[in-house]
């Protein structure tokens, strides 16, 4: 382990200015539940940390504004799960993701911005936000830009964000009343957090017909969360029935999904789990929309 300095900015502007002085050797830290683990494992290098915790009064919020649901980057998982706004059935998937997220003491410090910034497949909030077709707001001294979450990741631990940019917010359109979502993760042990397979589903129903659907997995082949677009297309317009879902999950999903084998699970097992969990999540969303 190496030594480093810490810079505590007084506001967002001050934080962005700090990159002018320290350059790329300055790395932002939010909850630190991803970064400091990597640090301990010797998997990251930096000369100084930019401590974003002091920006929490500016960047911790969950609000509805102009038809958009906006979540500040420094909102903790705890704050997200207890936010009044998300009590509604339309956000059930986000609540699922918070509920199964790590343990209470990780949830009190881990942030939404850090979950996106981690650019890791097993990022539960990110998977769920993909199903809401969320966008990421990033800021630098040059100004603000908005990047769709689905094009934010380039590889494991690589994003389109430049080192001098900070994530300030994620946002998505307020879902209609006939919509709901679900998130399911299969895990060896509750509380450890990193599952074998995780799936998020969002759907809008018109009676029994799937009007719109978005599906995201921890991985579709590349080592970051992605949408299952072919499967979504196959389901759109279909009646949401066990038979239909079963067929699509068996015939379409394997065509677009690539799974890896490692010491935790084989590729076959991961694909099988993906199919089973997707089916369960889709049927669950149906019940949630109907208020069952």
């Amino acid at each position: 382990m190496f030594r480093f300095d810490v810079y505590v900015p007084k506001d967002l502007r001050d934080a962005l200015e700090a990159f002018k002085i320290y350059g790329e050797e300055l790395v932002p830290i939010a909850g630190g539940t991803d970064l400091l683990v990597l640090y301990r494992q010797g998997m990251v290098r930096f000369k100084a940390l930019l401590d974003l915790w002091s920006l929490r009064n500016e960047l911790s919020y969950v609000k509805l504004e102009g038809g958009l649901v906006k979540i500040g980057a420094l909102t903790t998982i705890d704050e997200l799960s207890s936010s009044e706004l998300l009590k509604d059935k339309r956000f059930a998937g986000l609540r699922d993701a918070c509920k199964t997220f790590a343990s209470p003491f990780i949830r009190s410090v881990a942030t939404v911005g850090g979950n996106v910034g981690a650019a890791h497949p097993l990022s539960d909030i990110t998977i769920t936000l993909l199903t809401y077709d969320a966008s990421v707001k990033v800021r630098s001294l040059e100004g603000e830009r908005v990047v769709p979450l689905k094009s934010f990741f380039l590889d494991k631990r690589k994003t389109v964000k430049r080192p001098d940019e900070l994530i300030t917010e994620v946002f998505f359109s307020e879902p209609p009343n006939n919509a709901s979502s679900a998130f399911i993760k299969l895990d060896r042990k509750v509380g450890h957090g990193m599952g074998y397979v995780a799936v998020g589903v969002y759907a809008e129903l018109d009676g029994d017909v799937i009007k719109d659907v978005r599906i995201a997995f921890d991985s579709m082949g590349r080592a970051f969360p992605e949408r299952a677009l072919m499967t979504e297309n196959a389901l759109r317009g279909m009646e949401l029935s066990e038979r239909n879902v079963d067929k699509v999950v068996r015939e379409v999903l394997p065509k677009e999904m690539g799974r890896i084998s490692d010491y935790r699970a084989s590729a076959e097992y991961r694909l099988h789990l993906s199919q089973v969990l997707l089916k369960r999540a889709l049927l669950g969303v149906g019940r949630r929309v109907r208020g069952e």
Binding site: V6, D78, S103, V109
Partner: protein, 182 residues
């Protein structure tokens, strides 16, 4: 700009930083390194030995304390973040010479084997009971699911938290040592 341990002009300064906070009701002021963890400062500089390092990576819960009303892993918290905060460790949960209801309940249920996980388990239980004085079994399991006990006392912890909840509801939060030592 406020700088902590960093010099604008040069690298590798790693200057000590003075951090003031309240721990177990007492104001403290310590010099820490910018890269130091809160865990090490509480243990080594302030002698609060209840704060234990199990995994050092957020997975075991043996290092947790309550900081500004939140249960946090001190192994993943920079010491500089303590500035201006209020911290509660196991040492501060009961007045000198007394035991907290949770401690009494853990003894009553014969939960202790080696006891290494106890400080974390007690802080996590207190965090739960402060917010939710009458938790269900599922809520207790959820509250303790980040605390690893290598001796496997998990089922007794559940009994203990239920018992502690009963004691607290009866208004018995603190116990004399004579009431518990056998």
């Amino acid at each position: 700009m406020s700088e902590v341990g960093a010099s604008r002009a040069s690298w590798n300064t790693y200057r000590d930083v003075e951090v003031s906070f309240k721990v177990n009701g007492k104001e403290v002021r310590v010099r820490v390194k910018p890269y130091e963890r809160l865990l090490d400062v509480l243990r080594n500089k302030l002698g609060l030995l209840s704060v234990k390092e199990g995994c050092g990576r957020g997975e075991c819960g043996s290092c947790v304390v309550i900081m500004n009303g939140k249960l946090i892993p001190t192994c993943l918290t920079l010491a500089v973040r303590a500035e201006g905060s209020e911290i509660l460790t196991l040492e501060g949960i009961a007045p000198e010479g007394k035991l907290h209801a949770i401690q009494k309940a853990l003894l009553d249920t014969y939960s202790m084997q080696c006891g290494f996980c106890f400080p974390g388990v007690i802080m996590a239980s207190k965090y739960l009971l402060d917010k939710n004085p009458d938790p269900t079994e599922d809520e207790i399991r959820d509250a303790l699911d980040g605390n690893i006990c290598r001796c496997g006392s998990y089922l007794r912890f559940i009994k203990a938290v239920k018992l502690a909840s009963k004691y607290i509801k009866e208004g018995k939060v603190f116990f004399d040592e004579s009431e518990v030592l056998r």
